[in-house]
Amino acid sequence: MADDAVSSGGADGVLPGWEIVVGLEVHCELKTRTKLFCGCANSFGQEPNTSICPVCLGLPGSLPVINKQAVELAIRIGLSLNCTVDKSIFHRKNYFYPDMPKDYQVSQYEKAINENGFLELPLSKKVVRIERAHIEEDTGKSMHVGGDGGRIHGAVHSLVDYNRAGIPLVEIVSAPDLRSAEEAREYVTELRSILVASAASDGKMEEGSLRVDANVSVRRLGVEEFGTRCEIKNLNSLRSLVRAIGYEARRQVALIESGEKVVQQTRHWNEDQGVTTAMRSKEEAYDYRYFPEPDLVPLEPSAEWVTEIRSHIGLLPASRRERLTSLFNGVSSGPVYDQIVTAVGLGLDDLVAGAVAKGAEPRLALARATNEVASDLGNLEMLTVDNFTEAIRMESEGKLSATQAKTVLGKMLESGANAREVAKSLGFEAMDSTVIEGLVDQVIRSSPKEWERFSSGEDQLAGFFVGQVMKLSKGKADGKIVTSILRSRRS
């Protein structure tokens, strides 16, 4: 059956009578100074092939030496995910690919450094089991020129950048405990916050420091047995993750409903067409011939070291959420709680908590953080807690209208300037209420019919008057003040 014929079901993959089963493998780049097995810098965005040496190029004769900081960060991740940290060994995963310098990847196979943990999702409160979180090396990055959608097949030539080869990764493997694309999104979001909070990774999906493979299967509601799964490789954004799972689930349901079988395979997500396609059999017919890496000795972290690492882990998302909910009477659901989850997920909770501690109005601080600040996260470092607090206070004191406050925050994120300076430069002087009264009266005069209806109780017309006043004031008037003037004029 043609893939494009499968379009029933919502974007979330909600399919009546069916249950989606998802397990995720999340690859996370560790925020180490150097690579996993050599002294090359671990940094993003360098000129291609400048952060390389005989070891990460896998030159003949070179040998790996494990990076202690990478092991420490991996253990931090394991502890943050409630895993057991134990003795582990490395294996070689053998397969040929041009971006893999040794044509094998050093990874942990039989015995991972972190095993048997769990993670609790903040919204659904679901507990997702973590099977393992193991250390492995990243590969280089290929660029295929002239091929089909950037893939190697049909490419005229390929370029390889080995800067990424040997960057330390931790692969976090969940049990197949997720039941929808939305849960998968929630899991990755929460996992990302944990990784960032434990200072193990910067969690930047857009820079590839977090990459997700999704194992998806479907089964009829009430059936216990798992369906045949397909693995969708390399999902690089939450949007892709949700769309790919939804698509894949619908594809599998359609197959089964039309009497066909799901074939276990690795699939590729095509972002442009919104479909998953089977990788060519050559791309997946691997026998990785795992065997213990003879160039490395077993990792045996001492109990003392693990305890020390544990003591260095900062506030994790669950505690961070608690810190914010305590500002809102321990709220545990509803829109404010959702905003708290978002704030923590985006790493904005320090900003909110800091501003509230300095006297900002909690609700407003949370709202502005999760809307205006969240829309320009890339510039977050431009915004100090003090400046943010000042902007919130100016708004709550009526010195800035809501519209003005949003604009001011936007500019603050761009320039790093403080709220007062930005407001002044934009001409957002506090508008005197007598001036606003004048504008309100002007609007009442020019719209007598509407005023009559409003006066006789048609409250919905308030918006009309506020809008007109805003227009005249070029957005400088505070909507709340306008409304209160309108109401006083009516009575």
Partner: protein, 486 residues
Amino acid sequence: MGALIGLGASAIAEMVSSKEISALEVTQEHLALIESHDKNLNSFLQITADAAISAAKEVDAKIARGEDPGPLAGVPIALKDNLVTRGLATTCASQILKGWKPPYSATVVEKVSAAGGVALGKTNLDEFAMGSSTENSSFGPTKNPYDLKRVPGGSSGGSAAAVAAKFAPLALGSDTGGSIRQPAALCGIVGVKPTYGTVSRYGLIAFASSLDQIGPFARSVKDAAMLLQVIAGHDPKDSTSLERPFPDLISNLDKGVQGLRVGIIDELIDGAAPMVGDALMASADSLGDQGAKVEHVSVPAVTYGLSAYYLIAPAEASSNLARYDGVRYGLRVEGQDMNETYVSTRTKGFGAEVKRRIMLGTFALSSGYYDAYYAKAQKVRTMIIDSFQNAYDRFDVLLSPTAPTTAFELGAKAADPLSMYLSDVCTIPTNLAGHPAMSIPYGLGENQMPIGIQVLAPALGEVNMFRVARAIENAAPTITKGLFWN
């Protein structure tokens, strides 16, 4: 022939340090000898004369400035061509590394150079160290300097032949299953495989990582000890390198063997040629005469060594040699697509024996076969270690032939890999156990070719091993036969 040819490493270092002779003249004489005679021997793949001369001048300059030139002051040394050398082609005797010049040097190469050693060039080997006769070199075989119709052994045949032919007093080789000891035996010199982890493998092009170990060749036990002393020690670049301080071999060398318990491994005499067995018994008797307690001992698991080795070593090799894919360096044979480029490059670049072992190893690691082959071989490896341990509970060192025969004729075993593999039956168990062992020449057989005696010791047992080797050397008949060039 120059007057300095034939001097041992310790003599040269002493004379150079005391300015009796210059490092430059030592180097020049050895280069001249190589120049005139190596065309018949083919022990060197590359002679680095310019680099050698400037290194020798640097040693002389150091001495002139009153600085310590190091323990190998001005001593010429040959390097097996699987040790990477910065800026100098390193081939592993393979076509697949064609044109590759490493951007770095092996730790041992740095250490030798820092100790005042003068590298003369890179020596021939079986391709990627896979073989026992040096006939698997893609640059033609090396010959035995005592009989040019015969092989020098292998895989470090170039290094062994060069030292035996007096082209250099010292050489470095690598030993994965006997690749130092067997050619040392066949060429009538001393060759040592140290305890695994004693010498850094950084810069040794890997064949089988869990078995590979670099070691010295010399014409005397003392010179071998001297070189081992220089190259041993912890290297932070090799995770498998041991952190223990390496013991002083030289000062213990002449302590004799009084009271040492020596066991002759029964299982390794059975397959040996009678003349080799006789030499072994004679060497054992001489140890008895010098005060050692010599007895026979059974180490039953050693008979499984060969089978386990030919699963483990090829398995590791199949992975270690995957990187030669034509993408980054060395030979590339362009194909229609990536896969075809891989296949064409590797088909053209690797010789038959390398391909055979890659296939063996790939098979042994394949899903469905792993447990029956690779995993089982690892269990045998443990058995061998246990079996040796039982013997070392009662003995300080063990004795065996180094190789079952003396040097065979070129081509004699080339067509029959299994009979070639059997050349290493006595040496392989040591590698599987990670123990040290060395070969000491013990006269000539009835065919006028050298015989080697193997001294085996438990892990870190180098001190006793060298004491026993020295005692055997003291008692051994002198090799009177002339070299091919004199």
